[in-house]
């Protein structure tokens, strides 16, 4: 069972199932600002690891929820950038609900799309070139419809060195455990010191997110501390 509702949480401000946490958030009994979302993700990843099952629908719902919570929390924590968007807890709860409803709308539409696609897959169309005597006429009537530069620029794009490889298909193999290993190794290589930004490297966003959770986890276990001399200056991760 990978449903997020089965997830038992043990946070500083809250202990209990994830469902209940959502309920208390909606009833404004605790503020989203106090909830460590990273820990929820870690707990969920562990939970998935333990159960060894993958119910895609449940996982998707969890991701929609956690993404919405993350965005809401970041807006709670960083007010002022867009003053009119400052959210109180009630607005945050309403928006969380709105976000889930919006996702549901497209999830339901997708189910209808899958059925239509399946039904229409049984409808076959003829795909045959017109007989030769009719094709010849087409040439006489042909007038310019395309710009030759379109071909040149398409070729230019194909000659260009490819962008960084798309690692979307291997995301599932990124785990907090594995990132912990990478960070510990980097700490050893740097004699116990690691630049915070360097820990992320040029990985894709998902790996970067998992890396952040791994760094938080090291901090929580007391394996590493973080130090920042100047506001917005470089952050140093030091092995404990």
């Amino acid at each position: 069972m990978t449903s997020a509702s089965q997830l038992e949480l043990d946070l500083d401000v809250f202990q209990g199932p994830f469902d209940l946490l959502l309920a208390v958030l909606l009833r404004e009994e605790i503020s989203l600002a106090e909830v460590e979302l990273g820990q929820i993700v870690l707990a969920y990843v562990d939970h998935l690891d333990e159960t060894g099952e993958m119910d895609l629908e449940a996982v998707t719902e969890f991701l929609v929820l956690i993404a919405a919570l993350l965005e809401l929390k970041s807006r709670l924590l960083l007010p002022g950038q867009e003053d009119d968007l400052e959210l109180g807890p009630q607005e945050a709860a309403d928006e969380l609900l709105a976000r889930m409803l919006e996702y549901r709308r497209y999830r339901d539409a997708a189910a209808v799309f899958e059925r239509i696609f399946e039904r229409e897959a049984g409808v076959l169309y003829r795909s045959a070139p017109p007989p030769p005597e009719l094709r010849r006429a087409a040439l006489d009537a042909a007038v310019q419809a395309y710009e030759p530069d379109r071909l040149g620029s398409a070729l230019g794009e194909l000659l260009a060195p490819p962008p960084d490889p798309d690692t979307a298909h291997i995301r599932a193999t990124v785990s907090v455990q594995r990132r912990l290993g990478v960070i510990r190794e980097a700490l050893r290589e740097g004699s116990g010191v690691l630049d915070f930004d360097a820990a992320f490297g040029r990985e894709d966003r998902f790996t970067q997110a998992v890396t952040l959770f791994a760094l938080l986890e090291l901090h929580r276990r007391g394996e590493a501390t973080w130090a920042q001399k100047d506001t917005f200056g470089p952050i140093e991760v030091r092995g404990g």
Partner: protein, 191 residues
């Protein structure tokens, strides 16, 4: 010319054309009025529906085209050695629904709605020819729209024939239910 009198030529033109053709194109080719073509198409359609025939008239992607009757699908696939195209994955169907209703729509907006990056579903839908890049948003992100192949694959006469999006609007009951579901655990706990 009577509606029936146009049937043979209409059927021949639809048979020869591999893309859907509009009533206006047919009228121009047949050198008759568009309303005559429209009437003949209607009577041809009902003739074909009457049974005993192997093709049906369909309105797809802004035009008319003939399609084989679905009963012949299995035999046709055996004859043409043409397997069914793989079904849509859930992720592809969700992305397709978002693009279909919100087009043109940028990738970050798709990701925001789904809560996850949708790059791989966007890429496979593009490769399958169902969506394509269509300009850029005002923030510079590539935007996507559905293609005419999408309309053909879904048997849609056009984008206005998409399932009415209102049917997916959450009702106040849905909303209350979701809120209640989220609150339920709390109620149980405080009992």
């Amino acid at each position: 010319m009577s509606a029936n009198g146009l049937h043979p030529s209409l059927e021949a033109l639809l048979f020869l054309s591999s893309d859907p053709v509009s009533a206006a194109q047919l009228a121009e080719a047949l050198e008759v009025e568009e309303e005559d073509v429209a009437a003949a198409l209607e009577s041809l359609e009902s003739d074909l529906e009457r049974g005993g025939r192997g093709v049906r008239l369909r309105r797809v992607a802004g035009g008319y085209t003939l399609a084989a009757v679905p009963e012949a699908e299995d035999a046709a696939r055996r004859l043409l050695a043409k397997p069914r195209t793989p079904p849509l994955t859930h992720a592809q169907a969700e992305v397709l629904a978002i693009v279909a209703y919100l087009q043109p729509v940028a990738r970050p907006e798709i990701a925001r709605i789904r809560g996850v990056s949708s790059d791989s579903a966007v890429a496979s839908l593009t490769e399958r020819g169902m969506i394509e890049e269509r300009g850029r948003s005002r923030f510079g992100a590539v935007t996507y729209a559905t293609t005419t192949l999408f309309e053909r694959l879904f048997g849609l006469s056009g984008l206005d024939a998409l399932p009415d999006p209102a049917q997916f609007d959450p009702t106040p009951e849905d909303e209350r239910e979701l809120r209640e579901r989220l609150l339920k655990a709390g109620e149980q706990r405080s009992e």
